[in-house]
Symmetry: C2
Subunit: 210 residues, 2 copies
């Protein structure tokens, strides 16, 4: 079970490392972080780099592809080499997945046309521009395409994938070992639950900056 | 608000990146990943390296210290340079924190003597050997020491810290932006909730390997 996790400058850390921590515990998993060039790839905040151990050219035929998101998606949506690699990887993958605005990258590669998909709540509408059908669910599966909502949702996606691939018992083991028994001290994790003025503030920020 | 996240060979990825993704969004946060030597530090699984941007010697007086855990804690518990740095950083920190078996490292540095603390459920008993008082809660605060349970619990700890430092409103904003509205597809994230035979299996594994 070969797992390829895509890195590119400006990726959001937890989008990549959340599902990584879960699905890399699949039986027989061989997980590789990959980017256009091997070496450190700096994240959206600029204060952390993850190392891509292999360049895209050396990562062929993965069984699972994971595409993290970013708050600055324009550069990667225009990056032909990354989109070409994604299409080639998708041609043979069993599961093609994304977290957060990673779904915009899948969509820009033409992989979500006519498919139900999700994204960060602030970016849902943008999915339509690439012919996907946005939905507000936390994890959306349409055929072999699994998209997750914002940032932290990749953990739920990962656990759901582990269950489908290796069975409930293995998924429960992974959940127990990662002690994934979430107890958030607030209940503001979605636009339906957060105080309305906070939601409105960020919608306005989004309008202002994009 | 200077945040130092400790890296060492064999750290568990999500222990470090979970709280990172949350607390690095504190107002005015300056976050640095640090290790004995600057450069890539490989994780427990060996298939991912995070870059420590600065050596421990250059990271002095952090306001918040975060210590991730590992499944192989013996080397770091014996590492005098890391423990010395931790004691020095703790001497001036506002918050000294850990995720998972990171609390064993805090305890080995002598920082949890007589304090209530938590750890990965499989390692709770070990805390006693260093004079801490283990408790099964997910996030435990005793004075300025905040310890979190296994792996994923660092996200809850991070959000709790953001609330204490920057107020509920800011914490709710961070929760909304990271879409932390967890919906695990299973309910096996703690030894109280997981099927008994899975818990027994891992307890036996723990006995066999330590």
């Amino acid at each position: 079970m070969r797992i390829a996790i895509l890195l590119y400058p400006g990726f959001t850390t937890l989008d990549a490392t959340g599902p990584y921590e879960i699905i890399s515990r699949l039986p027989g998993a061989e997980t590789v972080f990959t980017a256009k060039e091997a070496g450190p790839v700096r994240n959206d905040q600029g204060n952390l780099a993850l190392v891509a151990d292999r360049p895209l050219t050396e990562v062929t035929d993965p069984d699972i592809v994971v595409v993290p998101g970013t708050g600055d998606w324009e550069p990667v949506l225009r990056d032909r080499e990354t989109l070409d690699w994604l299409r080639a990887a998708d041609a043979t993958s069993t599961w093609t997945t994304s977290v957060c605005t990673g779904s915009l990258i899948l969509a820009a590669a033409g992989l979500l046309r006519g498919r139900r998909a999700t994204s960060h709540w602030l970016a849902l509408d943008l999915l339509k521009e690439y012919g996907a059908e946005p939905t507000g669910e936390r994890v959306v599966t349409d055929g072999k395409y699994v998209t997750a909502a914002g940032v932290s949702s990749g953990i739920d996606m990962g656990l759901s994938l582990v269950g489908r691939i290796a069975g409930d018992r293995h998924a429960q083991s992974v959940q127990l070992l990662t002690e994934y028994d979430p107890q958030p001290p607030y209940d503001a994790g979605s636009p339906d639950k957060a105080p309305a003025e906070i939601v409105a503030f960020w919608r306005e920020e989004m309008r202002r900056t994009t």
